[in-house]
């Protein structure tokens, strides 16, 4: 498979209260066209920073090193850079500041080519705009449609993400929807401009188990139908393994291991990957109660 994008020696440093906090250290990997790639790791591993870097959404104060090269043949014509969703405020990450060493080609990649789904749909949807308009706006901006065409497209998208009663949902506000429905709307907005790459950053972590499974199935279906490449960011190795073709394991900003899902799960090369697998509490794991030999 050809690479959709090649990340080489990517380093990101956040500046916080005058000190520099490294978030990614010399990460190199290729994202293959059409693959489902999971990036997993614990908090502070740099997985969200990697996603933001790929999308060109890093805060302006971040110091960026290395390159992210998009394979030219894979790219649609570069257009405007409006992000699909509002970047939610992330505590601890510096806001504002001087723009430094931001490679130029980041700016060539815009909302048109990347769809981004965040963890909390409430903070990526505008609370006072009907959801139909929010989706139509994306289609209008990036596909240069009229409002009428864009609204027709929004309705089709709401059907595709299986929102009940798409006609009335077009006029609904985010607060009228459940968490799972809001995430469906955020996904509809993310794919409204027909992106090549969909990035889902902990997109199911705030949802309960049943809704999480529904959203994962939805993402899987949409990615297959549209031939999108998927970067799926998660802390949950079991969830990642169920969805991804390949898994990249990050720890403390470094790429620890990258391989086919089967290899990562059955024959991890790195002790840390093995520890993550062993820490998973599945429905077939030996209960901790037994390990302690104690029972009430």
């Amino acid at each position: 498979m050809t690479a959709l994008l090649s990340i080489r020696d990517l380093g990101v440093v956040y500046r916080r209260d005058g000190s520099e906090v490294p978030a990614l250290k010399s990460v190199s990997l290729d994202v293959l066209a059409g693959e489902r790639l999971a990036i997993i790791g614990e908090s502070g591993s740099g997985k969200s920073t990697l996603a933001l870097a790929v999308a060109g959404l890093l805060p302006t104060g971040a110091l960026v090193d290395g390159t992210i090269e998009w394979s030219a043949g894979q790219l649609q014509k570069p257009r405007s850079v409006t992000p699909l969703s509002v970047l939610p405020y992330t505590a601890g990450r510096p806001e504002g500041g001087v723009k430094d060493r931001q490679p130029l080609h980041f700016r060539l990649i815009g909302g048109r080519d990347i769809g981004f789904v965040f963890q909390d749909p409430s903070s990526s949807l505008d609370p006072v705009m009907p959801i139909g308009k929010q989706i139509a706006e994306v289609a209008r901006t990036h596909l240069h449609l009229t409002w009428r065409e864009a609204f027709t497209r929004a309705k089709i998208l709401l059907e595709r993400v299986r929102l009940p009663d798409p006609d009335s949902a077009l006029h609904a506000y985010p607060h009228q929807l459940s968490g799972g429905q809001k995430q469906r709307v955020a996904i509809a907005a993310a794919i409204a401009a027909e992106p090549m790459l969909l990035i889902a950053d902990e997109a199911t972590s705030a949802l309960d188990t049943i809704v999480q499974a529904e959203i994962v199935a939805l993402i899987r279906r949409l990615v297959a139908e549209d031939g999108m490449t998927l970067i799926f960011i998660s802390h949950d190795i079991a969830l990642a393994a169920a969805l991804a073709d390949r898994i990249a394991v990050l720890r403390h900003g470094e790429l620890i291991e990258l391989g086919e899902t089967r290899q990562i799960v059955n024959a991890p090369r790195h002790a840390y990957t093995r520890a993550l697998l062993d820490a998973h509490l599945g429905l077939d794991a030996e209960p901790l109660l037994d390990r302690q030999g104690a029972s009430a």
Partner: protein
Amino acid sequence: MSVLAVSSLAKRYHRGGKPFAAVDDVSFDIGPAETLALAGPSGSGKSTIARLVLRLIEPDTGRIDFEGADFLALSCAALRSCRARIQMVFQDPLAAFNPHATVGRVLDDPLRIHNIASRAERPRRIAALLERVGLDAGLAARAIHEISGGQRQRVAIARAIATHPSLIVLDEAVSALDVSVRGQILELLLDLQRQERIAYLFISHDLGVIRAVAHRIVILDSGRIAESGDARAVIANPQSAIGKALVAATPKLIRNRP
């Protein structure tokens, strides 16, 4: 005798002008040193039950007996002293504590409020509590916002056990933790339960976690009990539609161990 016995508990709210039952005819009990898990999807009533049991909200109908006495009949003063025996740990300790307070201050409060230790004795008790939950006693001088999420949840547990409770309500207490830390916190909870015979009302959406630590499970759906029983037996062979859906939706990690 059970530590906590809840019978025919009901709580209704109004949503969009219409009444809806957050908790509807729920009954269960928990014995000493036992862990009862409450599972169910979002909105099934898990957290409302936790708040009812803690008397943070009052039920419309039903009865709660705690350590053999009518918990709902307790007056303010009696309730306050009873609260030492029922403690709680929530998902996000950063939201539960003043982030700028020191760890020592957070642990000093329950010891002072419930007259558990004199002012002179308290620093020693705080150090012992920190060590009991696997933290360095020197952490007492640090601010809550300076320590890691796992350390903070250990502080929340230390605060909960400071008053020698017979019951701790754990509402998604390990849900926000990294998996490596989560295992350690679960081990700590099991160890404390064995040593101090504390009962846990363990609320979680994660059947894997429940199966690892709970003796019995109650599965809720729309405020009602869908099924209940031995945690492992119910998860291995759920009978209710919601129980089956929860098990089916739980991510499975299929490993072929060499």
